[in-house]
């Protein structure tokens, strides 16, 4: 049976999550070791993660579930602190849902790959059952009612990937205008780099930038300038 490590900023959060998961298997589940808290407060400690990895170590492998950002950093650093002779997988799964799913599946004797997949898919039932409550998209500039708009073609090689999306979000974020970017029939709030990236707009794609508000013209002009300059990614000619 694989072992499981829980890395959390909070000992109380980790212990409760483990107890919740154990209710599903009544003590017949995998070894679940906890590394939570640091220096007496919220935080994570890579040496504690290391100790937890040793405690949960199994020739079948160890799955590591983590909460917020620095828990991931500490888990990665723990792997760097010395060789570990069993397979270890850091899971992108949400902590609570992922842990419950992983404990149940591991208790059934599934291998590391299977348990890891099960944990990563643990949000699916929640997302499916709550589909009708899904958060509506942010209020956007109504189509055809903008104070300023422009159609542009993405000329930089990668299109609206993370960095150009962040550049646009930064530029319009400080302005007094609601700005939308439309591509391929989908609309995104230009102040959200995540939404812009979900447009999946690559090189050569036409986008429409529209804005309402006092700074609408300025916002559209700023985006136009960045797009036409290829977000600084074009080779100097």
């Amino acid at each position: 049976m694989i072992g499981i490590v829980v890395v959390s900023h909070s000992p109380a959060l980790a212990e409760a999550a483990v107890a919740l998961a154990d209710e599903m298997v009544h003590g017949s589940g995998p070894v679940v070791a906890v590394a939570a808290g640091a220096a007496g407060g919220f935080g994570t400690d890579a040496t504690e993660v290391r100790r937890a990895l040793e405690k949960a170590s199994s020739p079948d492998g160890v799955l590591v579930l983590m909460d917020l950002g620095s828990a991931v950093l500490s888990a990665e650093l723990a792997l760097e602190l010395g060789p570990i002779d069993v397979p270890v997988r850091l899971s992108a799964a949400p902590l609570v849902e992922g842990l419950v799913a992983a404990v149940v599946r591991a208790a059934g004797g599934a291998d590391l790959d299977t348990v890891s997949r099960e944990a990563e898919a643990a949000l699916v039932p929640k997302v499916t059952s709550l589909a009708e409550h899904a958060t509506p998209p942010a209020a956007l500039v109504p189509a055809g009612e903008s104070d300023a708009s422009v159609r542009l073609t993405l000329v930089n090689p990668q299109g609206l990937h993370a960095r150009p999306a962040a550049q646009i979000a930064t530029a319009v974020g400080g302005l007094s205008a609601d700005v939308a970017v439309e591509a391929g029939g989908r609309r995104a709030d230009a102040s959200s780099s995540l939404e812009l990236m979900t447009l999946g707009a690559g090189q050569g794609v036409e986008i429409t930038v529209s804005a309402v508000g006092a700074d609408a013209a300025q916002a559209v002009a700023a985006v136009r300038e960045m797009v036409e300059a290829g977000f600084g990614e074009l080779e100097a000619s």
Partner: protein
């Protein structure tokens, strides 16, 4: 080494002087670091680094002979005592610098630079940060570039470290208009704009302390 001579070899004692200066700097500027962190993070950066550097100075009270052993002790102490994301990040920085420094009892300019660069590579590997993400990278990367080009230009270790400290401060200030793309600040999205990144600010203190220790 006479008391008036310029530092040209970075011994364990010089490194301890650097760490001690950094400890003093985080004490002096701890409230400022926490204030920056309260704007875009979880308001603990100053307190975390004060706790971490106090623990480091206690741990190196009787320093080992090799620079690598000293730096490893620093890294491990930060990992166990800091708590926030700066623990694994600064911890990784010193642990990678330790590996690069190895058994050497003193480091010349290029060896010190190689150690610092290994540390920065560690931070990149850990945090997946790139230029412009509003992180400590934005202070450290220009600092090491300045250190490197100063050494190449024949500058003394002290002058190279001063150039690095100046570049780190400029890099810190340049994080103010950036949109945070990493760490807790990235949850804030555009609200992170207009605040200096606390990690870049503490990194600038680290380089300023190095310049002080090498002068």
């Amino acid at each position: 080494m006479g008391s008036l001579s310029v530092v040209e070899a970075v011994t364990v004692d010089v490194l301890v002087g650097w760490l001690s200066a950094f400890r003093d700097a985080v004490h002096e500027h701890g409230a400022y670091l926490t204030e920056l962190d309260s704007a875009i993070g979880d308001a603990d950066h100053g307190a975390n680094l004060i706790r971490g550097m106090d623990a480091v100075m206690a741990a190196v009270a009787s320093p080992p002979e090799a620079t690598g052993d000293l730096l490893k002790k620093v890294g491990m102490t930060l990992v166990t005592s800091v708590g926030g994301a700066s623990g694994p990040l600064y911890g990784t920085f010193f642990l990678r610098m330790a590996t690069a420094s190895g058994d050497a009892t003193s480091l010349d300019g290029p060896a010190l630079l190689a150690g610092l660069e290994a540390g920065l590579e560690g931070i990149v590997a850990r945090g997946k940060a790139e230029a412009g993400d509003k992180t400590m990278y934005d202070a450290l990367a220009p600092a090491l570039a300045a250190f490197s080009s100063s050494l190449d230009g024949g500058a003394s270790l002290a002058d190279a470290a001063r150039a690095a400290a100046g570049a780190a401060a400029a890099g810190r200030d340049a994080t103010e208009p950036m949109l945070a793309l990493k760490g807790r600040a990235s949850y804030l999205g555009e609200r992170s704009i207009g605040h200096i990144d606390p990690g870049a600010a503490s990194s600038a203190l680290l380089l300023d302390s190095l310049a002080g220790a090498l002068s």
